[in-house]
C-alpha cells in the first residue's frame, strides 16, 4: 500500500502544476490564471469530497481547524516565494532554498517532534533526494 501511495504522489503531485505551463504555451491573458486556480482548487475539492460523501464521511472540527492552518501555511509559502522572486532574487536561488528548506524543517520536526527514526537506506535516500530536489529547483 505504501509503495503504491508513493507512486501516486510522484505522478499526481508532479503533474498537478503542469497546467500553468500549458496555459503559458497557449498565450492567453495573464489574468486567466485566477479563474484557472479557482477551478483547480474547486476541482480538487470535488474530486475528494464526492467519494467522501458517498462513503458517508463528514468533515469535523479537527479537519476544519488543521485544514485551515494547512491552507494558510500553503498560501503563506506561495506569497513569500512570490515576494522573493519579485524582489529580484532569481528562481534558481528561490526554489532550491524554499523547497530544500521545507524538507529540512519537516525532517527536523519528524525527528524532534514526532520521534521518527530512520534506518540507513532511508537516511541515504533522504540525503540523495534532498540533493536531487535542490538540483531540480536550480535547473
Amino acid at each position: 500500500m505504501w509503495f503504491l501511495l508513493m507512486l501516486v504522489i510522484l505522478l499526481t503531485n508532479g503533474m498537478s502544476a503542469f497546467g500553468l505551463k500549458m496555459i503559458a504555451g497557449w498565450a492567453l491573458p495573464e489574468t486567466v490564471k485566477y479563474p484557472y486556480l479557482t477551478v483547480w482548487y474547486a476541482g480538487g475539492l470535488a474530486g475528494v469530497a464526492l467519494p467522501m460523501m458517498l462513503r458517508g464521511l463528514k468533515v469535523g472540527k479537527t479537519e476544519i481547524l488543521w485544514g485551515g492552518l494547512a491552507g494558510a501555511l500553503s498560501i503563506g509559502g506561495q506569497v513569500a516565494m512570490a515576494v522573493a522572486l519579485s524582489s529580484g532574487i532569481p528562481g534558481h536561488v528561490v526554489f532550491p532554498i524554499a523547497i530544500g528548506g521545507s524538507i529540512f524543517v519537516v525532517a527536523l520536526a519528524g525527528r524532534l517532534v514526532f520521534r521518527e527514526r530512520m534506518n540507513t537506506p532511508t537516511a541515504l535516500g533522504v540525503a540523495l533526494g534532498f540533493a536531487a530536489v535542490i538540483l531540480l529547483g536550480a535547473s
Partner: protein
Amino acid sequence: MGLLFCFLGALSFGLLGSALKAAERRNANASGLVVSSYAWPALAMLVRTLLLKSGVHMPGKVFLIAVIFGTCAAVASWAFQVSIRMGKVTVGWLMMNLSAGVPVVVSIWMYRERLTSLKVVAFVLALVSVFFLFWGQVIEKRAIKEFPAKGS
C-alpha cells in the same frame, strides 16, 4: 530582504508538512483534511477572480485542464496524508517534492526542452534516492513483522 522571504517560504512550507503530520497524530480524517485545506484557497481564489477588472473569461480547454490537474493535486494530498499514517513524514514530503521531476520530464518530451547535465544528475540522484527510500521501507516492514514493538 528577498533572501529573508526565501527562508520564510521554506519555513512556511516546512510547517505545512509538519502541521499535516500533527493532524494525522490527532486522527484527522485524510479526506476531510484535504477538503478543508482546498476549500479555503478555492474561496480566496474565487474572490480574487470576481475582483478582476477584465471580467471572468475562461476558455473550455482551460477549465478542463484545471479540473484534471486540480484533481491530481488533491489525490496527491490525500495519498500523502494516508501515507504518513504508515510511513515517515520526511519521506512522504520528500516524495511530494521529488515529484517536481515528473513535469520536467514531460516538458522535455512535449516541448522539446533541453536536457541539461544538471537535470541528468538530478534525475539520477532522484532515481537512486527512490530506490533507497523503498529499500528502507522494506527493511522497516520486515523489522516490524519480527519485532512489532519497534514500529513507530
